[in-house]
Symmetry: C2
């Protein structure tokens, strides 16, 4: 895949990433021990006693898996100059052991930088969906994408 620049994106574009990920009990526990040691992420019995009715993955792990699918499916090919942040992370449904997640991205907005003509800010909405077609996560990401060197693309 060729390197993608700011000029290759426009609002309304949607990308469905080709990969998927099935959550295992073991990786849910491993992530929770390091990054989110709440009982319902660490222990099946504690999960049963919680409002979730069983072990669920940390919402941050769902974010991480979604982001890996995005990097492997698209973002890894973008001439990226980093990300200032993310807005509106929403955990809509729990993710449980055995659940399989796919992800997609919609381009919301392109904003060429006024102070730095070699780049622009891109706002995108990511969504992750489970094997039942339920959206489990949405988030609005921001990325600084380089413009194509020497021009050659349409001005966004």
């Amino acid at each position: 895949m060729p390197t993608l620049y700011l000029e290759d994106f426009k609002p309304g574009q949607t990308f469905t990433f080709p990969g998927s990920h099935t959550f295992t009990r073991e990786e849910i526990l491993a992530f929770a021990r390091q990054y989110d040691p709440q009982p319902f992420h660490l222990d099946e019995e504690a999960g049963k006693r919680s409002i979730y009715g069983g072990l669920i993955a940390s919402g941050w792990q769902t974010v991480g898996v979604t982001f890996r699918l995005a990097v492997e499916g698209l973002i890894g090919n973008v001439a990226s100059m980093g990300s200032p942040g993310v807005d509106e992370v929403r955990w809509l449904k729990p993710v449980r052991p055995g659940d399989t997640i796919t992800a997609s991205m919609e381009v919301l907005e392109l904003r060429p930088s006024r102070s730095k003509p070699d780049r622009g800010l891109v706002r995108v909405r990511y969504a992750a969906t489970n094997q039942r077609g339920e959206t489990v996560l949405t988030m609005v990401g921001m990325g600084l994408f380089a413009r194509r060197p020497g021009g050659g693309g349409a001005t966004p």
Copy 2:
């Protein structure tokens, strides 16, 4: 530590969590392979060629470490009923191997639920700071906290 309920929090309260975390090269690479396989998170040489000038941790790993410090320092003792999401994740400075992070939380707002009298929504701002006193991450989290059973606390 006793269980904390909605009534135990008020806007303006600040908590500095007791723990800290020093990022190792190995854990930066391990996280990146699973959740954020961009070259500057995976490889020292690729980091040197990037805008970051060296290997940096995934911003999502910084979020995870900050959240673990919050769970261990406070949130693990809250009668939590889950989180609908997070807003305004901002990565302000890169985190590199050897950097040590501490974290704090400020209560922004309490909103008792109208439809479910047993809980309320709490908005908090987390901040993570490195060993040079630089803020590396801020984010605004939302949590559903249970009210104290049987009352007994001030109405927020």
